[in-house]
């Protein structure tokens, strides 16, 4: 076979993936750009981006997204990390049981989880108010709605962080711990000098995936508060949905999506740079 034939046969085998990729990735992204730069009359225009500057709801959504994002990352990452470390050092009989329990939320559909929280925080018959013997109307309160969403979101995604970091901890070769014990390290020193540096790359990956997952969060807001009360739980993803499917302004929604894409891109790039994770992943020497 000559070179051309090899390439042709290769293309035939790769074709399904290439076609899939073109239809489901490249084309939508092309449309996203196209709509973003289209005015209501259908002409090429920057009007959608100009409108952003004068959009108070966008402004609120960005602030809310920041609040929701920082709260969620802080809770989910630290809780997932701590759970992984504790379970990794726990050697009792219930280890597998605990691990399985921690996996459960990952197996439930997000919409079901959202509905479950809706029931739990229901002001009339929800168990939370009943047990606390209060009438707080969690989801209807300007101050409590967002923390409640953060809490519900954490329940869903702590296991995700846990899973990745736990796998990382399990994959640290035993011999490093043996060398550390010979070197005279205490438990804490071993954690600091062996465990942490060993799982650093995986922690960064977990952090990134967790961040992106959180930013894409939508279901909880949609089911629990529908953005309310007022605009207090409008986060960017929810606002984009509203613009597209309630106001039917697809062009503006596309522009907002593009903004969202840029924000996520900058964020991911910054984390990768700051953590110099490329070094660990062998992307760069």
């Amino acid at each position: 076979m000559n070179r051309n034939q090899v390439i042709k046969i290769g293309l035939v085998f790769a074709a399904p993936l290439i076609i899939y990729f073109l239809i489901f990735f490249i084309y939508p992204i092309y449309l996203l750009f196209k709509y973003s730069f289209t005015s209501a009359s259908g002409a090429f225009s920057f009007i959608n981006f100009e409108n952003m500057i004068r959009d108070p709801i966008l402004y609120d959504s960005l602030i809310n997204t920041l609040y929701y994002f920082i709260g969620s990352v802080a809770v989910q990452f630290s809780a997932g990390f701590i759970a992984a470390v504790i379970l990794n050092s726990y050697t009792g009989r219930l280890k597998n049981a605990f691990r399985s329990i921690l996996y459960i939320p990952l197996t439930i559909s997000p919409i079901v989880i959202a509905l479950m929280w809706l029931i739990i925080f229901n002001p009339t018959y929800g168990p939370v108010d009943y047990m606390l013997d209060m009438n707080l109307n969690w989801l209807g309160s300007m101050n409590l709605a967002m923390p409640t969403i953060i809490l519900a979101n954490a329940w869903e995604y702590i296991p995700f962080v846990f899973l990745i970091i736990y796998a990382g901890l399990q994959s640290v070769p035993k011999q490093y711990y043996e060398a550390a014990s010979i070197d005279g390290m205490s438990r804490f020193q071993t954690f600091r000098y062996i465990t942490l540096p060993s799982i650093r790359p995986i922690m960064i990956i977990a952090f990134l995936l967790n961040s992106i997952g959180i930013l894409q969060g939508f279901t909880l807001v949609y089911v629990l508060t529908n953005g309310g009360p007022g605009f207090s739980t409008y986060i960017l993803s929810f606002y984009i949905y509203k613009v597209a499917f309630t106001y039917f302004n697809l062009n503006y929604a596309s522009a907002l999506s593009l903004l969202f894409l840029v924000i996520i891109g900058i964020y991911v790039y910054a984390i990768l740079k700051l953590s110099s994770v490329e070094k660990y992943l062998g992307i760069k020497k």
Partner: protein, 364 residues
């Protein structure tokens, strides 16, 4: 190196009736050893004989199935590794991949509370000795096998432990560096005076380094002794065959009483023994080292030369005596060729007879 005030020095290691099982597999079978303070003790055995396992038991990295281990007079069965104050070079080095060479060596001092200056001077001192000053800033994965091994050695030697445990620490060095490292290790050990347990499968390395050698085979200690003893009076066939290079010649035969004296009778020849006495007639294996077979003009065993290997200081001859091939070591160079007929004689005082059933040495 400075070793003032170190508590660990002079530690004796006693291994008492130690058995180690992995599941049903017996890796070590009732091992008894006394490793005297300051001794350079070599554990010698083929791959899979249990050397690493024994070392890990002394370090505390494995639980003892039966028996006890004492370090410096203290029973350490339940003492965790970090409190045993042993230093160890792992067979696969186990360097910390995320730290550079300097930190790999320094970490053990840091966690023991040494000052920054003390750490720096000790690390650079040991780095100089092991020729790794130039790579202190590199990560382990950037190093060759030999360099990694030297870093592992440095990490162990930078401390003042009660016992050094070295698991084949020279196996990956090239020939020249290995000889250098041997003499360095030997003199360092003498100077510091730390009890050292050195594992190797290389008998010449064992002979070169050891004050005492323990020969291990399939989890059983075959013999313990100084290199001289082990070379001249190996107590069983395994040790006899394992120690010495080229290996000892082994010739199956019988010991037969012949009037008032004894004869060794093999299929192809027989040898009159003048000064050696036995209790019974035995089926035996005669062990004779290559340097204890001499060439003679007349009155010898007929042999044919298969191969001549002149080494300079000595010449090795492969000779055929009936159905057995023997190696002869001739001191100096000699003009001989394959195919020539010669006569040889065995040095009687050096002939070792092993009972074929028990595989034990019969000479006393």
């Amino acid at each position: 190196m400075d070793n003032g005030g170190s508590e660990g020095i002079m530690s004796e290691v006693i291994v008492e009736n130690v058995t180690k099982k992995f599941g049903n597999f017996v890796a070590l079978d009732n091992v008894n050893l006394t490793i005297k303070p300051k001794e350079f003790f070599v554990l010698l055995g083929p791959s899979g004989s249990g050397k690493t396992t024994l070392l890990r038991l002394i370090a505390g990295l494995e639980d003892i199935t039966e028996g006890s281990i004492y370090i410096g007079g203290k029973k350490v069965n339940d003492v965790p590794p970090k409190d045993r104050n042993v230093a160890m070079v792992f067979q696969n080095y186990a360097l910390y991949p995320h730290f550079n060479v300097f930190d790999n060596i320094a970490l053990t001092l840091k966690v023991r509370g040494y000052s920054k200056d003390a750490i720096k001077s000790r690390v650079s001192e040991i780095a100089k000795i092991l020729h790794i000053e130039d790579i202190l800033n590199k990560k382990p994965r950037e190093l060759s096998g030999g360099q990694q091994q030297r870093v592992a050695l440095a990490r162990a030697l930078v401390r003042e432990p009660s016992v050094f445990l070295l698991d084949e620490p020279l196996s990956n060095l090239d020939a020249k560096l290995r000889v250098e490292a041997r003499s360095f290790l030997r003199s360092l050990q003498k100077e510091v005076g730390v009890t050292t347990v050195f594992v190797t499968h290389d008998q010449s390395e064992a002979m070169a380094l050891a004050t005492t050698i323990a020969v291990l085979d399939k989890g059983i200690i075959k013999q313990v002794g100084d290199p001289y003893e082990l070379y001249t009076k190996p107590k069983d066939i395994f040790t006899a065959g394992f120690i010495g290079s080229p290996a000892m010649n082994m010739i199956p035969g019988k010991l037969v009483k012949d009037g008032s004296s004894w004869r060794f009778v093999s299929e192809d020849f027989s040898v009159q023994l003048i000064n050696t006495e036995f209790e019974n007639e035995y089926d035996v294996i005669l062990g004779i080292r290559p340097e204890h077979i001499t060439l003679v003009k007349d009155d010898g065993i007929n042999a044919k030369i298969n191969n001549v290997e002149p080494m300079g200081a000595v010449t090795y001859l492969d000779i055929q005596v009936g159905s057995v091939e023997l190696t002869v070591q001739y001191t100096g160079l000699i003009k001989l060729e394959a195919g020539m007929e010669i006569k040889v004689k065995f040095v009687e005082e050096k002939m070792l007879f092993y009972d074929r059933k028990t595989e034990k040495l019969l000479n006393v």
